[in-house]
Symmetry: C2
């Protein structure tokens, strides 16, 4: 309980270092030496706290997976019209991925490389139910004609795509457009408004 507040135990330092290195280099690319240095300790201690590289990775992976899945619950409970809910979500989610730009690509890559790892975690949780409730809200608003009708699943995929993909492909965009990182970040911040408006226009009846 109190553990969560003690931020500089050796275990915490290792976890932070491992998070940094794994997210940046992936499971295969990460080196235990680098993690140990980053944590200011030595390799042997990694094995003392976590049995193996694989075990340490799983710890990080499990911790991260919860953070990436958007928290729809807040917007679902509110009584605002669906366009406002979506706009709120877009702002919140783009802010989140902008602050953790490497996280989506890390998760998608590692899940792709080992899908089983995720199935164990997500199977039969409440995520599916929350998504269904959000979809149901959309359908209701479509039926009363407040927004244009779309397949709710695809609409949700569209929203997530618009928020996440440009962050994932930052280095590609940067190379093609030949921009420095600061300028590119400004453009990606503009997306909060641009994406909101794009979706709003698509949904207008």
């Amino acid at each position: 309980m109190a553990e969560a507040l003690e931020l500089s135990t050796t275990e915490q330092k290792i976890l932070e270092a491992a998070k940094k290195v794994f997210i940046q280099k992936g499971l295969d690319g990460a080196r235990l030496d680098e993690i140990a240095n980053e944590a200011g300790i030595n390799k042997a201690l990694l094995h003392y706290y976590f049995k193996s590289k694989e075990k340490l990775f799983e710890k990080i992976f499990d911790e991260m997976i919860g953070k990436l899945l958007p928290d729809f619950s807040a917007i679902i409970e509110s009584q605002n019209p669906i366009e406002e809910k979506i706009e709120f979500f877009v702002h919140k989610y783009i802010d989140f991925v902008s602050e953790n730009p490497q996280l989506p690509l890390f998760m998608v890559t590692e899940i792709n490389r080992n899908p089983q790892r995720m199935k164990d975690l997500l199977g039969h949780t409440q995520n599916f139910i929350i998504l269904q409730r959000f979809a149901f809200q959309m359908i209701t608003e479509m039926q009363v004609g407040r927004i244009k009708s779309f397949n709710p699943l695809h609409l949700m995929l569209n929203i997530m795509s618009l928020c996440i993909f440009p962050i994932i492909s930052k280095p590609v965009i940067q190379a093609i457009l030949q921009l420095n990182e600061a300028d590119l970040n400004i453009i990606l911040q503009q997306r909060k408004e641009e994406v909101s408006r794009f979706i709003r226009e698509a949904l207008r009846p």
Copy 2:
């Protein structure tokens, strides 16, 4: 010249095997043993044809980068209205990434891990110019009021995002929605129409 037609030279077999393994496991995760087995030869031959793992990887990487960048030239030359051009592009590009579902994630991951690799290839090529011409066409159509005004850069990012991201995150979607691969593929094929319509609705004046 005739080389391109000889499909089962050892060199070709190696390249195909390397392509398969690198795209699936990345530079760090790929093993020369696996590539050699896949090609039906042995490790030593890999070094005979390509000096090192790195060199072999670069060969694959350079070959793939060209394929992923969309060929805008065809649509740019045509005289159709912009909505039709975009719709044509969406269909073509979703078809392409559906047939090569692992390619976008591979490229984005590797570029992220080593941005320099791409800069050398893309710097000062014609990609930038073609993109500018496409943007210019959009602006023209916006000015005459045929489509709603958007920032052309963001509009292009939106289109690419909608086409690519759901393919990239297939395993994630599959886990959350608990679908088998066949059903998910059907959904992803539907996107050709769904995405086209979504963009069309957003752009309607």
